[in-house]
């Protein structure tokens, strides 16, 4: 028969997995040759063993699933020929390797067990009657199954450092440095000024401090003879006339 089996053309992510693959169900292919009692088998063989595959003479000679690794081929998916006719309303996909129960229980019936290795495999359909094979399709192209990688090959590190991190870190670091410098500078200036009693403040500051505290300046005779450090503000303002204070 001139039909070539092939993997289903639709883009399904489960079309080909590590142990199964999905073929497009052939329709109207066997109608001319099939009787009601005939069965259609699927022969699966390793791609390099497909040339040496011989069709079985009868149903008893059908190579079972268990012999796949030794004889490098087997036949499965025995279905009535009527299921492949033009009028059959069946799902369009044939999944090879989907039956894990028959692999574990080791039944002798045709077993659609999972495929043990990634292949590549070739398949063909075989129409078997009561007296032997009646028709067959061509061999398919080699079908290679998936091989999974180990998750240790995944590298979770980010590819590049984001620019946002750099911006935030640099701006914050500079702000912090400026603040620290300003505090140290202000504290140091105050400590130095109070120790060395020099006129550090401007007039504006001094006047402002008077207004803020509403403290009238002390009379000159009550000042200590030396400009000590308590309180430094009054000490500094002694030589100035009390004129600004009278405006309070």
């Amino acid at each position: 028969l001139p039909y070539v089996p092939h993997v289903h053309p639709m883009a399904l992510p489960g079309k080909v997995t590590a142990t199964t693959f999905a073929l497009e169900r052939p329709r109207c292919v066997f109608d001319r040759h099939a009787d009601a009692s005939d069965a259609v088998w699927l022969a699966v063989a390793f791609a390099n063993a497909s040339a040496t595959f011989r069709n079985p003479r009868s149903r008893a000679d059908v190579p079972p699933y268990k012999q796949l690794l030794t004889t490098r081929s087997y036949m499965t998916l025995e279905t009535a020929a009527a299921a492949y006719s033009c009028s059959a309303p069946t799902p369009p996909v044939l999944r090879v390797g989907g039956d894990t129960a028959c692999r574990d229980q080791g039944r002798q019936d045709p077993c659609n067990g999972p495929l043990p290795s990634p292949g590549p495999y070739r398949v063909k359909f075989l129409l078997m009657g009561c007296r032997g094979p009646k028709a067959e399709t061509l061999w398919s192209d080699p079908i290679l199954l998936r091989t999974a990688l180990s998750p240790s090959t995944i590298d979770p590190a980010p590819s590049r450092r984001g620019s946002d991190v750099v911006v935030i870190a640099s701006i914050l670091a500079s702000l912090g440095a400026v603040l620290a410098t300003a505090v140290l500078g202000a504290l140091g200036a105050k400590v130095w000024g109070s120790l060395c009693h020099q006129d550090l403040g401007t007039d504006a500051f001094t006047r402002r401090s008077y207004r803020t505290h509403h403290i009238p300046p002390a009379l000159p005779h009550s000042l200590p003879p030396s400009c000590g450090c308590s309180p430094p503000g009054l000490c500094r303002s002694a030589p100035q006339p009390p004129a600004p204070c009278q405006r309070i």
């Binding site: 489960g14 999944r95 894990t100 998750p151 980010p158 935030i168 701006i171 300003a182 505090v183 402002r208």
Partner: protein
């Protein structure tokens, strides 16, 4: 003279206004960080499993920094109005300490947001989902199951994650029966797949084809940027207020 008195009052007014804004932002920061720490989207177990939960540490710091900012802003307002050198000195020093903590929180949140990549979650999912021996992988499994159920997604980038890589899941579930977990299938009201064969093959409509990475990275991004950028804005404002306060403090004389 009146002009400098006005200047003083303007400076006081500005500082009080600045501290009021700091206080309100502190409360907002605390509220935002409490919201993030309460784990509304359920991704915290995944982050914890990747040992990458410093974003949560940054949020915890943010809660306390926010409360500290609120308290210090009240102290600052009192200090400015009373023009007390001691109060303002205490205010400046404590604000600097708070500034340093908030700086650490922002930089931590921004850095760890960067290290959240799809590959990080992919590796964790493949190695730990449905792994039977260590007890803490039950958390990872439950979190992934809930994530996939609620967001109708599968894997990190898609169901093909389970096909491209071997995994702990693959050790206990055969590839032919479970090309991907059952939670990736469209489930009916009883929690059973609507069409199991359709799901195994990947027929559209019977399985969830999009990955869960968007559902994970969306909340993590919002969380990290909320902590990092809002904290950054507060710090810029605090910087200006602190400079003004130091200028004011240096002008106060006893």
């Amino acid at each position: 003279m009146a002009k400098s008195e006005d200047c003083v009052h303007i400076l006081q007014g500005l500082l009080v206004f600045g501290n009021v804004v700091i206080g309100m932002c502190g409360i907002a920061l605390t509220a935002e960080c409490i919201y993030f720490v309460s784990n509304p989207h359920g991704v915290y177990p995944l982050l914890k499993a990747t040992e990458n939960n410093d974003i949560y540490a940054a949020a915890w710091i943010g809660i306390f920094v926010g409360l500290a900012l609120f308290a210090l802003s009240i102290l600052g307002i009192i200090g400015v109005i009373k023009a007390s050198r001691t109060l303002l000195l205490v205010y400046i020093i404590l604000m600097l300490i708070t500034f340093a903590f908030e700086m650490a929180s922002c930089i931590t949140a921004a850095t760890h947001r960067d290290s959240v990549t799809p590959q990080l979650f992919l590796k964790q999912m493949l190695e730990r989902y449905q792994k039977s021996e260590p007890a803490n992988d039950i958390e990872v499994t439950k979190t992934w199951d809930e994530l996939m159920l609620q967001n109708h997604c599968c894997g990190v980038l898609g169901p093909s994650d389970w096909q491209e890589y071997t995994s702990a899941f693959r050790l206990t579930h055969s590839d032919a029966d479970y090309p991907w977990p059952r939670k990736c299938c469209v489930l009916d009201a009883q929690g059973l797949p609507v069409n199991l064969d359709g799901c195994k093959l990947g027929v559209p409509g019977y399985y969830n084809s999009n990955g869960c990475y968007d559902a994970i990275s969306g909340p993590v991004n919002t969380h990290a940027w909320g902590v990092a950028w809002f904290g950054f804005a507060i710090l810029c404002w605090t910087f200006c207020v602190l400079l003004g306060t130091m200028f004011y403090w240096s002008g106060i004389e006893y």
